[in-house]
Point group: C2
Chain length 286, copies 2
């Protein structure tokens, strides 16, 4: 199926689709909202920085009046600092992120937990500091109707971005807290290589901890720094329907966000990229 | 401790050190042998391509007369093709690699098992084809006194280089065969992020399947294509003594190879890089 899919088929099959704002970061918030309405995209995942630039209240009003759902806010986290002042600052920033999520009307704040502090080689210690932060933030979030969703990032990010590298590690952390406080983000890009991940999705689902499900495809060669290598759905090695099957078998029936960081997509017209992404979603995951 | 470490201390502490040829690929085989003798490096890990260029018999003679040990030959593998002709060709090539290892006098052939065939998204199927190849090659290798050492590669190589991403997966494959036929390569670079790896090292040691232990450090940012990002010992996030402790607790007392693919090191004088690598080994792992 190509981008020529007919409008009515498209809208029906897009009922669970959400576009993560970073996929089309070249669009302003009003442009994004317009493009979603035009294409029948019902949900968006938002990022703090562009939301803050536009204004949190103004964004909430814009999205609400358009009738769109905010499926997640990205992102809180970066909990691994050792320095007490840095840790206090990170907690303050995460409380602000929780407040923003509540204002935007989303129930899910995605967490990128943080890498190793400069000079440290202690992955275990870093993971424990994440747990300490979750203990502080979980109740604060739950009181505001927001769930924290620990995102295991691909092991290639373990040192500089996120010491939580597998769904099992994310659940080991999340399960220390009630599910209405802390769960996980299941993102195909980060876990597709892991033969233990399907069983961990079952575990997450049984505990009511699949707080969001995101798609990106795995393509090579990876770019320098590897951050902007997330491939368009269907272009890479990941069987999206297989992973959708795992989360559905685990009881997840919520939105499916497509989140791509891809310099090639960012260089193109944002509306065209959104239309292509929606069509790929229909073809590979609806 | 710096590169100014005294000669006698150095030689004593280098008793388990082996330099993988790729670390100093700018050196010819005679230059490599000379540098090893000068510095007191007792072992080398060789690669098929430069050995073939120099001649397998000639290399064997050169190394033998210098009194150096060949700790491994890199590499066999690439077993994941679906096409029968390609598979037959891969098996032939691996039999040649086993013959070369025997000629060189090493008991260990490192295997990089192969990525997904073009267009395939089936990791499980690819892993089963690896098992099929091992069933063919294991007896052939053992008859020649060579052990196959499956190397789990970092998950960032899962699609294009090696669908075996964890030590657990490597052992799941290896344990279908006798340990004198098939074991594993434990390389810090590929497994350092994995909180399950220490337990898997214990499992590998209990089965007599730690066939080689290799060191490289994890540094960021990763270069484009990520292959040449292996960091000099001590420059990155990995605690080498911690991992050495795991393999030793599991009963491994053999050589420790330093294998770095690093464009920065390749641009420098090879003897200087070897001296630096030996000093770093003494400082961080001896």
């Amino acid at each position: 199926m190509s981008e020529s899919v007919s409008g009515s088929v498209m809208v029906e099959n897009l009922s669970r689709f959400s576009i993560n704002q970073m996929t089309v970061k070249q669009l302003s918030l009003p442009e994004l909202v317009d493009a979603c309405l035009e294409l029948g995209v019902p949900g968006v995942g938002l990022w703090r920085e562009p939301v803050q630039s536009y204004g949190v209240e103004a964004t909430a009003k814009l999205i609400r009046e358009a009738g769109l759902a905010v499926t997640t806010l990205c992102r809180g986290g970066f909990f691994t600092a050792i320095d007490p002042d840095e840790r206090a600052k990170a907690l303050d920033d995460n409380r602000a992120a929780i407040d923003e999520a509540a204002t935007l009307g989303t129930d899910t704040l995605v967490l990128v937990s943080g890498g190793l502090p400069p000079g440290s080689k202690d992955l275990h210690g870093a993971r424990e500091r994440i747990a300490d932060a979750l203990a502080e933030l979980g109740p604060y979030a739950a009181e505001r109707g927001v769930r924290l969703a620990i995102e295991p990032l691909h092991p290639m990010f373990a040192s500089d971005r996120c010491v939580v590298s597998t769904l099992a590690q994310a659940l080991d952390l999340a399960e220390r807290f009630p599910a209405e406080q802390v769960g996980v983000t299941v993102d195909t890009y980060h876990i597709w290589w892991d033969d233990q991940a399907p069983a961990q999705i079952t575990r997450a689902g049984a505990g009511g901890r699949i707080h969001t499900f995101q798609l990106a495809d795995w393509t090579t060669p990876l770019p320098e720094g590897v951050l902007t290598g997330r491939g368009q759905i269907g272009d890479g090695a990941i069987d999206m329907r297989e992973w959708k099957g795992y989360v559905e078998a685990a009881g997840y029936t919520g939105p499916i966000e497509v989140e791509l960081f891809n310099a090639g997509l960012w260089a193109r017209d944002g509306r065209e990229v959104l239309a292509e992404t929606a069509a790929r979603f229909v073809e590979h995951a609806a």
